[in-house]
Amino acid sequence: MQPNQPTGDWQHLPRASITAERQYVGIKYTIYLLLIGTATVVQIKWLDLSPWWMWILTGLWTGFFLLQFVYVPKMRQRYFKYRVDDEFLVVEFGIFILRHVVTPLVKVQIIDTSSGPLLRRLKLMNMSVHTASGQIELPGLEVTQAGILRQRIERFAKLEEQEEESL
């Protein structure tokens, strides 16, 4: 058995993944804003309640929004990378905790791809690679990039693993 040397180049997420994530966060927070805003107007105008801690919560909420809208998508695109070394999927990710995960492709059980209207408009899709121990998320891949990766994984998923010989 020869050690498996890095054979592929690191693949990064496309710039469009930043736009996609920002659009998703923007829509999510707009819905929250409408719901919470309506409740707050009712509370202040008709119930005459405006507790002091409400403004702290508003500040925290705005902070979370800015973090998720401005920094997180940019950092995710910067830090997320993957490559396929012959038989292995190698993924490096994490904004606060850096994770470097190596998974043998023969262990892959399910490849799950999904794309909503936002991702489809930008020609992107999410991929989730499932093994018996969990899953690896690859968010916002280009459609062609995802197709190539899926083909490579599928090729190995059909092959026979050494361990199964005892069955």
């Binding site: 994490g94 043998p104 093994t131 026979e160 010989e165 005892s166």
Partner: protein, 484 residues
């Protein structure tokens, strides 16, 4: 063959359903008794509920069938919502026989068939079969799936004696769990025994401090002895047999559990040595055999083995795992980062406890928590020397990861069983060139230890990233070499 389980299943289902209703029924009966004896309506209610449960049991039994053929095992059940579970016999990873107290009394058992799915529970579960029949079924299914000795190799067996079990129970650190259990029982019973407890407290207040301390100590001792008894009941008559590649492990004095598995299905061997056990040169061995999360995932192999006997024990019962002494040590500069969060947690916990005691307890008791603060530097010193034993190593196909601060845990995992190998480090520590190793097995099992260097991680990856594929079979007619 398609057949039904034993008719005693009806009684078992009825009693199980009744058991789940025992608390509301007991509360109703107790209230009735406290007022003016059992009312006629209460009695009618209890009889009607019991009758309905019996009818439910009969119908459940009628629709509960199973079929075993050469390829599959199928279980059909359900009255309104039908369910059919089928599993391929070749996918079976282990077969177990479990008996709870009720089944034990009725002479029944549950046959649990586990596969590699990560659903968290057995793929097929056959309840309410006679114990003898379950054993027969296990051997019928097991013979086809889990190859037995074809050559006349003698099976080897070991048992764990009562003395070892009692000592293992005494050192298992289950006092905390026992205290929680005691607290829960007290919470439930409190509403019924409150007046007696208040009276007892009033009488106790007049006693001297020494007697109170002795009484408290005796109560703790009683709970501790109870925890040992639970351990012995759970793992009593421990017996493991290896028949070539097939392993059978059975334990339990009341709820008997028996599991059969092929040795290839062992995901990892874990050797745990607590601080006290290390002084006694003893260890606790367990196996990870299936992917499912939950109790079945971690199987006890030996509760209290002498460390000097582990090597010999493994060569007889688990020859794939050989005892190793990993050489690569964790880096010195990582210690502070490993110990900071536990130390901070213990410090905060002790400070809060002392604060609460100072404000709530009377004069002689309020300072009792302060000496525990002295344990913090002791913990630091013990962890400091323990950390130097955090190591890793790999030899042939086996990876060894040892984590130690106060207690020591060593994991032996075959390379081909490791589902993913990863490193984790915070962005802050990334610049210090240190990281933790994470080793993921089937199911939700993750072992981790650190801190090691990036270079060491790459060394492990070079070992791990060898092919996982089965070598291609020689084409028909190929001439074999002399060795073959």
């Amino acid at each position: 063959m398609t057949r039904r389980v034993h008719p005693l299943f009806i009684l078992m289902t009825t009693l199980t359903q009744l058991r789940s209703l025992v608390i509301p029924i007991a509360v109703i009966l107790f209230n009735d008794l406290k007022n003016d004896g059992f009312g006629i309506y209460t009695m009618i209610g209890v009889v009607v509920i019991s009758f309905l449960l019996l009818v439910f049991g009969i119908i459940s039994w009628y629709f509960y069938t199973f079929t075993i053929d050469e390829q599959t095992i199928r279980v059909n059940k359900g009255i309104f919502r039908k369910s059919e579970r089928t599993t391929q016999r070749q996918r079976i990873e282990s077969i177990g026989i479990n008996q709870n107290l009720l089944e034990w009394i009725l002479g029944l058992a549950t046959l649990a068939v586990e596969t590699s799915s990560d659903s968290g529970k057995p793929e097929v579960e056959l309840k309410g079969v006679r114990l003898e029949f379950a054993k027969q079924l296990k051997s019928t299914i097991g013979t086809a799936v889990l190859p037995s000795a074809e050559n006349a190799e003698t099976a080897v067996t070991y048992t764990v004696g009562l003395k070892d079990l009692v000592t293992a129970g005494a050192l298992s650190g289950r006092l905390g769990l026992a205290l929680v259990g005691f607290g829960a029982v007290y919470q439930f019973a409190n509403r019924f025994i409150e007046p007696y407890i208040s009276r007892a407290f009033d009488e106790l207040l007049h006693l001297s401090l020494m007697i109170l301390l002795i009484l408290g100590g005796m109560l703790l001792l009683l709970i501790y002895l109870g925890s040992i008894l639970v351990f012995v009941l759970r793992y009593g008559s421990f017996r493991a047999t290896r028949d070539k590649q097939r392993m059978t492990i059975g334990y339990g004095l009341l709820n008997r559990t028996e599991i059969v598995f092929h040795q290839d299905k062992v995901q990892a061997l874990v050797i745990e040595e607590s601080w006290i056990k290390r002084r006694l040169k003893r260890a606790h061995l367990s196996l990870h055999i299936i992917s499912a999360s939950g109790e079945e995932e971690k199987l006890l192999l030996h509760p209290f083995i002498r460390t000097s006997e582990i090597d010999d024990f493994l060569s007889r019962f688990l020859p794939r795992f050989q005892l190793q002494n990993p050489q690569k040590r964790a880096v010195e500069r990582g210690f502070v980062y490993i110990v900071r969060w536990p130390l901070l947690g213990y410090s905060l916990g002790l400070l809060l406890l002392n604060g609460a005691m100072l404000y709530t307890l009377p004069e002689p008791f309020r300072y009792f928590g302060l000496p525990f603060l002295l344990l913090l530097p002791v913990y630091y010193a013990v962890a400091r020397s323990g950390y130097q034993n955090t190591r890793y190593g790999h030899q042939d196909d086996l990876f060894v990861l040892r984590k130690e601060l106060v207690n020591r845990e060593t994991i032996y995992a075959p390379r081909l069983k490791i589902e993913a190998f990863s490193s984790h480090v915070s962005r802050f520590l990334e610049h210090k060139d240190i990281l933790k190793f994470h080793l993921t097995l089937r199911g939700s099992t993750v072992f981790h230890a650190g801190y090691f260097t990036q270079e060491e991680f790459e060394d492990v990856l070079r070992w791990y990233q060898q092919t996982f594929l089965k070598p291609p079979a020689s084409p028909a007619g190929t001439r074999l070499s002399d060795d073959e």
